[in-house]
Amino acid sequence: MSDSGWVEEVDEGEQLVLSDLINRVLDKGVMINSHIIISIADVDLIELDLKLLISAVARLQRRKDTGANLSVRPGPQP
């Protein structure tokens, strides 16, 4: 990891692990408070493939649209 915190090179195996990590932590687990607001860092998280983040955000947005009282907004600049 570079000094800026961005991932510079990640092999396929590590990409898989990171993808699973995001999938698990952001999209799994019980909901205790349905009125949560998740802020997503706008440029951070994973430099290697931002599609992973966009997919997770898209799913959250779909849940919001079905009345799950979630909202997603860009987080503050680091």
Partner: protein
């Protein structure tokens, strides 16, 4: 500052929790006992989802599981004004969550991560992308041996198959008895189609928390 919730364990297993854990922002993680459930929380100022905070959240849950308690993970971002608000929200689901933890006592989740096989048969383009993706997954599953649960044997108590974001791969979530982790890893290592698979775990019950094992 808000009271950030990481996960839940049965209160009778609270003695298994690590003495010292640090979570998001380096904040100490502490237990809050609410009858049969113990919630693991920390005081967090900013729970913006980033690689750092997601990893910190995951690290806390892994430490809890390593300590020996069966753990129910809570989705990232569950924060409350204070402990009182957390307790009010827990009250509504406490019975259900405690029952699930009781039924899963002694179990952990292992995850097998695989990229999609490049040699999977092509899917007709007329189908929707979602259907095509699922069919390609099923093709990869057939290549792997008619479902991993049958291939890995009775060590796998339940299985869930999950698509990873943006077509990055597939995750097989396996519910196993905690003491059978070594047998599970040996079964994976012995399977001819799983040489490149990544084994993750032991983890809290991500795939089985809302829908307990069969």
């Amino acid at each position: 500052m808000r009271t950030y919730l990481y996960g839940l364990v049965l209160s009778r297993n609270a003695h298994l929790l690590p003495q010292r854990m640090n979570g998001i922002g380096g904040a100490a993680v502490r237990p809050i006992v609410a009858d049969e459930l113990t919630a693991l929380v920390g005081e967090v100022e900013d729970a913006t989802a980033s690689l750092e905070t997601v990893r910190a959240h995951d690290r806390v849950m892994r430490e809890i599981v390593r300590g020996g308690a069966t753990a129910m993970p809570v989705r990232f971002g569950q924060a409350f004004a204070d402990e009182a608000e957390l307790r009010r929200h827990l009250d509504g689901r406490a019975r259900e969550l405690a029952d699930t933890l009781e039924s899963m006592e002694g179990h952990v989740e292992m995850r097998l991560l695989m990229t999609l096989a490049a040699e999977s048969p092509p899917v007709p383009e007329a189908k929707s992308p979602g259907t095509a993706y699922l069919e390609s997954l099923r093709s990869a599953n057939r290549v792997a041996g008619l479902g991993l649960r049958a291939a890995l044997g009775p060590v796998v108590r339940a299985e869930r198959v999950e698509e990873l974001p943006a077509g990055s791969g597939v995750a097989f979530a396996h519910l196993i008895r905690r003491e059978e982790e070594t047998s599970y890893r040996e079964s994976v290592a012995a399977h001819p189609s799983l040489g490149t698979a990544k084994v993750i775990g032991p983890l809290a019950l991500y795939a089985f928390a809302e829908h307990p094992g069969e």
